[in-house]
């Protein structure tokens, strides 16, 4: 936002400040719903709104009881552990296969590159309910529905587009002569990959991994259809909670999940700064 020039007319001044107010309101709209959840989760009552005690900052109005409930209720604990068991495994599958394929895709001569790319990105574009329906029908046929591996495979497929996109984007800036130099000095392709290429594209791989992780960690539609009660994840538990008996423990879970996303966001930002710094240093 450029500063107002000293010769601005009154109309321009009014518009300038009105515009700032409009933008402020939109930012408020973006962040307020998330911000409201956090204080509400410390409510000592089972209400979903601010009580009189909370508004007067009376310590009696606040408590950690919803958090205690989350950490002691077996339903929520099972759900949390299921999420922790599913997401990292799905992430490892999508990242290992995805990185390999991204390296293949960024070679100079790839036949049918566009078509392959379209297929690999499609899990991100196809509506989740369609993926869920297809996987449910098909995985039931091959006895994968309702199993841990069924959910992991489904989530890995959903995470792959993010890995492909971030890693190919990183590889665009990768200097190909480095691998040639390594080969020239006698390194075999595997050594070249792990000692030369991988360290350089690592930021892209990690941010792809974070995307894949959060995709699996937040996913509900596919897990509801493909999974069984044994694979009930945190978002699934929240979904049933919101649908049936809405309990304020959800607010505590939501706050914890916001903290998780803040951590992920910070890591991503640090990675972005690092790669920007490196790019600034390298010539060209």
């Amino acid at each position: 936002m450029a500063k107002l020039p000293p010769y601005a007319t009154t109309g321009q001044r009014i518009w300038h400040y009105a515009f700032l107010v409009i933008c402020g309101l939109i930012f408020f709209f973006l962040i307020a719903p998330i911000a409201v959840v956090i204080p509400l989760s410390f409510n000592s009552q089972d209400f979903f709104t601010f009580t009189k005690e909370m508004l007067s900052f009376d310590p009696a109005g606040y408590s950690l009881k919803h958090y205690r409930d989350f950490f002691s209720n077996p339903d929520w604990q099972d759900a949390m552990w299921n999420s922790i068991k599913i997401a990292p495994v799905a992430t490892v599958i999508s990242v290992s296969l995805g990185t390999l394929a991204a390296i293949g895709l960024s070679q100079p001569h790839v036949p049918a590159r566009r078509a392959i790319m379209a297929i690999l990105i499609s899990p991100m574009i196809v509506p989740l309910i369609i993926s869920a329906a297809g996987m449910y029908f098909f995985y039931s046929k091959i006895n994968l529905a309702g199993t841990y591996w069924g959910v992991v495979l489904a989530h890995a497929a959903l995470g792959i587009p993010f890995v492909i996109i971030t890693v190919t984007a990183t590889l665009v800036g990768f200097d190909r002569s480095l691998t040639r130099a390594a080969a020239n000095m006698g390194a075999d392709p595997v050594t070249t990959f792990f000692r030369v290429q991988m360290p350089l594209i690592l930021p892209g791989v990690i941010s792809g991994a974070l995307f894949a992780f959060i995709t699996s960690f937040d996913e509900v539609v596919v897990v509801i259809f493909v999974g069984s009660a044994k694979q009930q994840t945190l978002p699934w538990q929240m979904f049933t909670g919101l649908r049936e008996q809405i309990s304020p423990t959800i607010l505590a879970v939501a706050t914890l999940l916001v903290c998780v996303s803040i951590v992920l966001l910070t890591v991503l930002e640090l990675l972005r700064r690092r790669s920007e710094r490196l790019r600034g240093m390298s010539p060209g």
Partner: protein, 424 residues
């Protein structure tokens, strides 16, 4: 021979093969290596994702159940003229009795009954009731079966029942698709269902209309934000960017539950409105479980997907263009509308298609804050998969939704390019 190659023959590589062939070989090897690197993932996606979708698409026309459960009847019925108004002959009834006996033993008669029930309500109970006695049928001695079956259930005397079986005997059917667009096969081919039974076209229209509305609200809200982010000094814009990225990274369920809590009648928004005095305590607004709730929550959830592409386009527009326009005498509005706005259209297009594609397939948010009036076609698909168990219809609805999305995906690829998708 050797003289020829030395002077005017093909250029040779170091090992003596012609250079052209050697280069072609190297290129082939390069292509092969690239494909080898891609193939594990491609295989994985094909098996875990593309195959299930193809299976679902096949399910939307699959109708083998009728001919598999009632093979003799289907054969015997093939000569029967449905338009004659006469009942089929004794042979058809005997075939049906034999088929039902087998089906009842295998417990598949209820399945074929509920399949035919989608097309002609009442079929399910005919098959269920007759099937109860079918295990005891003595095919040789129990005849004549025409009288016997009609005596058991007089619906067998209705030619319409036989017409339905005949119409839906081929192994593939367009019935589910016709059903998904509120049509059915009548005596004179495809016809519209009665007004009171038309649900899906209205639902599809509502889904499209609401997605368009959400896309439009996202454009209106995202434009000023993207502009201010692109024109502030980096330090400040990075700080404000957090306000956009945090919702983007926050779990969908968290954002939906936040809206569920905010919009309740006893929720924060109504409380604030009552406190300000805009709304009296006994007339709290109903802003959840209707279209308004879905639109507000989804606009909030999809807004970052609009802001980010707009922002990346606006960042590349030099601010000098606006200054040049103004110094040439354009008013603020003309400079914006004639110079700045046209350059932002690629960003608007990219963001709009993305938001629209995401909105049209939404399931979770409409299910939680949409009530009955604010649900999308996805919710109906989920209903048919898990509650009504009409998987064929669910697949047909899914295929229609998929077709809409794929057209948009293709457009997105043409306009923006799949390779240019940026995340965060």
């Amino acid at each position: 021979m050797s003289d020829m190659t030395d002077t005017s023959g093909p250029v040779l590589a170091a090992d003596g093969t012609p250079l052209k062939r050697s280069l072609a070989k190297a290129l082939r090897r390069q292509k092969l290596r690239a494909l080898l690197l891609i193939s594990p993932l491609l295989l994985f996606i094909l098996v875990s994702f593309i195959l299930p979708i193809a299976d679902m698409l096949y399910r939307s026309v699959d109708n083998k159940i009728v001919v598999q459960t009632l093979p003799r009847t289907v054969q015997a019925l093939s000569d029967w003229d449905a338009d004659s108004g006469q009942l089929p002959e004794e042979a058809v009834f005997a075939a049906m009795a034999a088929d039902l006996k087998e089906a009842a033993a295998a417990k598949t008669h209820t399945k074929v009954g509920s399949r035919l029930n989608y097309e002609n309500p009442g079929m399910s109970s005919i098959f269920r009731k007759t099937g109860r006695n079918a295990k005891k049928f003595d095919i040789e001695a129990g005849g004549p079966w025409k009288e016997a079956l009609i005596e058991m259930n007089d619906d067998w005397a209705d030619p319409d029942v036989w017409r339905t079986i005949q119409t839906y005997s081929p192994p593939t059917t367009a019935g589910y698709f016709l059903n998904a667009v509120d049509m059915r096969v009548g005596p004179d081919g495809a016809e519209m269902r009665p007004e009171s039974e038309q649900i899906y076209m209205n639902l599809l229209k509502r889904t499209l209309w609401m997605s368009l509305f959400i896309t439009f609200s996202c454009i209106v809200l995202a434009y000023p934000v993207a502009w201010i982010l692109a024109n502030l000094p980096t330090r400040q814009s990075n700080l404000l960017m957090i306000l956009v990225l945090l919702p983007f990274w926050t779990s969908l369920l968290v954002r939906t539950s936040a809206w569920k809590i905010l919009l309740q009648q006893q929720g924060v928004i109504n409380d604030v409105l009552v406190w300000i005095g805009l709304v009296s305590d006994d007339a709290r607004l109903v802003i959840i479980n209707n279209q308004f709730g879905t639109i507000v929550a989804m606009t909030h959830i999809l807004l970052p997907f609009m802001i980010l592409p707009m922002y990346s386009v606006m960042q590349t527009i030099p601010p000098t263009y606006l200054r040049a326009a103004k110094s040439l005498g354009a008013t603020d509005w003309t400079a914006f509308w004639r110079v700045y706005f046209p350059q932002t259209i690629p960003g608007i297009g990219a963001g709009s298609i993305l938001v629209f594609i995401l909105a049209i397939g939404y399931y979770i948010t409409p299910a939680l804050v949409g009530g009955t009036k604010g649900t999308f076609i996805s919710n109906q698909i989920a209903f048919h998969i898990s509650t009504s168990l009409n998987w064929g219809l669910a697949s047909a609805l899914g295929a229609i939704l998929l077709a809409v999305v794929l057209v948009l995906y293709w457009a997105y690829d043409k306009i923006v390019g799949i390779d240019n998708v940026k995340l965060g």
